[in-house]
Each structure stands twice: as structure tokens, then as C-alpha cells.
Symmetry: C2
Subunit: 243 residues, 2 copies
């Protein structure tokens, strides 16, 4: 990677080279392992997000809507490809990096399988929303190349607008759908947090990215969870659903 | 499209311009409607093939195999995009062209849902095989631009080799899996033919492509079904399964 080499005018790396390097291993083995865990978790989350969106697209009421869901799935797959490429660049087999996260992510999906089209799109909106917020938070603690990648894997702004419009129209047409959807939204966050916690307990390196980082502390982690929760509350509000 | 224009040396279209034109409407309204039906059927078949392969990829035993299935799904989606582009080029809304085939294709998938990973890959191999053979046969009766597209939507030669290897290894390891897989293969053809027949009865324009075409006759259609059946038998043989 060209941005790992010192520039021609500065053959000696500057003192803060580690923080600026795009090679996480220069920031210590623990950080390197944490970055690979983070990319593995994001990668498998994108792969199964892609898979579930495609499978749930069969619930779409029209081919036009189904095609919008496929467009979103393409974006998730393109992001997955970028994460896989970065893992390979770091000398890791992508499957090995993703394997430790299969159980938790699969459990999340198994426990939140949507039974209606509306649940399907609320799941994408709420689930991708929390995931994207979390990635943006964690990216503060990783090397710049990984950070740029992680910050770029956000998908679905257009789709989010579609979800908001569709759910608001549906609850206006039949106010009774609002309650079960709000309940489903709460279940999504609950399962996401519970699986996230299970991962944090098992994957020390990933947890250390947050906990042992000089730029981070427990207070800051508390604040982060506060921000994630607030953003989720705003999203449920945008849908017109109780949270 | 450049190949619709007469070449610089021949400003006047030759007498057989209709047969050479890439615009099916110049071959008569019936043929044009048949071509749109054909593209609609292929398009929806590719979209739901893509969807089912992605959903069934969750049955894969490892992330590596799952990734191979996703690669195949990408190829189906790329072909779907080409069919959609061609339908738009012909001035048709792709959703409208595909709509008449949703029921039959969905019924095929609902009745052949694989319950194991092996069934999943046999379904892709056998189902795509029959579909590709049929497209190649029908493409003889359509305008050259459509023909080129239809002949190009074949996917999965590499994947076919993987299926053959995997099924042979599985039946070698446990000969008892062969019987149910062979039965499943027969069910796949039966359902494909029965849904194909339902479509032919309902879609006059599509059926007319074969039946009313001067290049075709009933005897030739009989031969075509013979060729499709032989090719299917060869594929089951390649898997080492009774047919």
C-alpha cells in the first residue's frame, strides 16, 4: 500500500507513525488482532445481511419493491467484498477472520426472522442503523486505512427513506400494525445487544480495541452506548413507532 | 445498437433485414410479444434463481463453499441485469414483462425447496442445466440481439464441476444419500416441465415462438424435448445418480 511508505521528503518515519500507519500490526499485536476481529465481524455481518435481505425480498409486495431490496443487497455485498479484500491485504484468510462471529450473527438472525414484509424492512433499517453507528464509533480506534474502510460500509440511505415512508403509510392505513412493529423493533435491539455482548466476552482482542485503547475509557464506552441508544430511539421515532 | 444499422457499404437494408434486425417488432407483433415473454420468463427465472441460491447458501457446510455459492449468485444477478436492460431497450417495463411468470416460477421453487445442502446444489446444477438448454433451443427463433443475450446467460460451469465432485464424494462416503438425491432430481425435472407447460398454455405469444415459427414445427419441438431430456440424463449420470 502506497500510504504505508514514508513520503520521499521524510525517509525517517515521524514519531506518530504508528497512529498514522495503515498497517495495524505497527500498532502492536493486540491492536492488529482487534482490527482483524473487527473486520471479520463486519465482514460476516455484511455477508449474512446480504443473504437475509435477498431471502426476505421474497416478502416484497411487488417486483418493484423487491428490486429495491436487491439494490440494497448489492451494496451490502460490495461492502463485503471490500472488507474481504482488506483482510487479504492484511495477510489473513477472510473465512478464518469471520468464523468466530458466525454463531452470534446467525443466532441474531434466527431470533429475529421477520414474519411480514414490514418487519423485514424495519429489521434492515434498525439493524443496519445500529451496526453502522457502532462501526463509526469503533473506527475511531483503528488504523486510518481500516477506519476509512469501516466508515465507508454504510449502506441504504435511499432505502431508509423508503422504509420510513412505507411504515408510516402502513400504520396510517391501519394503526393496529404499529404496536407489533414497535415490539419487533425492541426485540431487534435487545438481540443485537445480547449477541454483541456475547461476542465481546469471547473475543478479547475485539473488546480490547475499545477498553484498552488510550483514546478510550470506561466512561467513553458508556457515552458510546448512550449515543447508540439515542440514535436507535431517533430511528424508531422517524418510523412513528414507540420505542 | 450498432448492429442494427446497415454497414456503410450497404445503405439499403438487404431483403432479409427482418431476420437480421435486432428489433423483434420488425419480425411482426406476435414475434415481438413472444420475445418480451421469453425475456420476462428468463428475467424472473434469473431473479428467483439468484434469490434461492443466496438463501440456500446458508445450508453450506463452510464459509468457503458458501462464498462459492455467492459467486454463482452474482453471475445470475449480472445476467438478470442484462435481461432487464434488454427489456428496457425494447421499450418494456421489466416488472410488467416478468409479472406473468412469477406464479409458475414461485410454484416451482416452493415445491422443490431443498432440505439439505446436497439437494440445494443438485437443484442449482439440474435446474440451471435444463433452463440453459431450453434458452439455447428457443434462441434459434428470436432476433440476433436477443439470441446473443439469451445464449450468454449461461452460468456456473465452474460451479457444475464443484457440484459433480461434491455429490460423488458424498455418495461414495455414504451410498444411502444417492437414492433420495436421485428422487429429488426426478422431482426437479417433473416440476420444471409441469410449470413450463402451465406457462406455455397461458402465454400464447411465448408458445407461438416455438409452434408458429417457420423454422420450427411439431416434429422439431418433439426433438427439442428429446434433446432436453437427454441432456438432463447426462447430467444425472455425471452426478452418479440414477435418473
Amino acid at each position: 500500500m502506497s500510504d504505508t511508505s514514508p513520503s520521499a521528503g521524510a525517509p525517517v518515519p515521524p514519531i506518530d507513525a504508528a497512529a498514522q500507519s495503515s498497517d495495524p500490526s505497527e500498532q502492536g499485536d493486540a491492536n492488529a488482532a482487534g482490527v482483524i476481529d473487527l473486520l471479520g465481524a463486519i465482514g460476516y455481518n455484511l455477508l449474512s445481511g446480504f443473504t437475509r435481505i435477498v431471502a426476505d425480498s421474497e416478502l416484497a409486495p411487488t417486483l418493484g419493491v423487491r428490486s429495491q431490496m436487491v439494490t440494497l443487497a448489492r451494496a451490502e455485498l460490495a461492502n463485503y467484498d471490500r472488507v474481504v479484500a482488506r483482510l487479504e491485504e492484511l495477510g489473513t484468510r477472510p473465512e478464518e477472520a469471520m468464523d468466530p462471529f458466525v454463531a452470534a450473527v446467525d443466532a441474531f438472525h434466527a431470533r429475529t426472522r421477520p414474519s411480514t414484509f414490514l418487519e423485514g424492512i424495519v429489521k434492515v433499517y434498525v439493524g443496519d442503523g445500529i451496526a453502522n453507528d457502532f462501526y463509526r464509533e469503533v473506527s475511531a480506534f483503528v488504523d486510518p486505512a481500516t477506519r476509512e474502510l469501516v466508515e465507508g460500509v454504510e449502506t441504504g440511505e435511499e432505502f431508509a427513506a423508503f422504509v420510513v415512508r412505507t411504515v408510516r403509510e402502513a400504520t396510517k392505513a391501519d394503526p393496529r400494525v404499529g404496536g407489533p412493529l414497535a415490539l419487533y423493533g425492541r426485540r431487534l435491539v435487545g438481540e443485537a445487544l445480547s449477541q454483541g455482548q456475547a461476542v465481546a466476552v469471547e473475543r478479547d482482542a475485539l473488546a480490547a480495541l475499545l477498553v484498552d485503547n488510550p483514546a478510550s475509557d470506561l466512561l467513553e464506552i458508556g457515552r458510546m452506548f448512550g449515543r447508540l441508544t439515542e440514535a436507535h430511539t431517533r430511528r424508531m421515532g422517524a418510523l412513528g413507532l414507540a420505542h
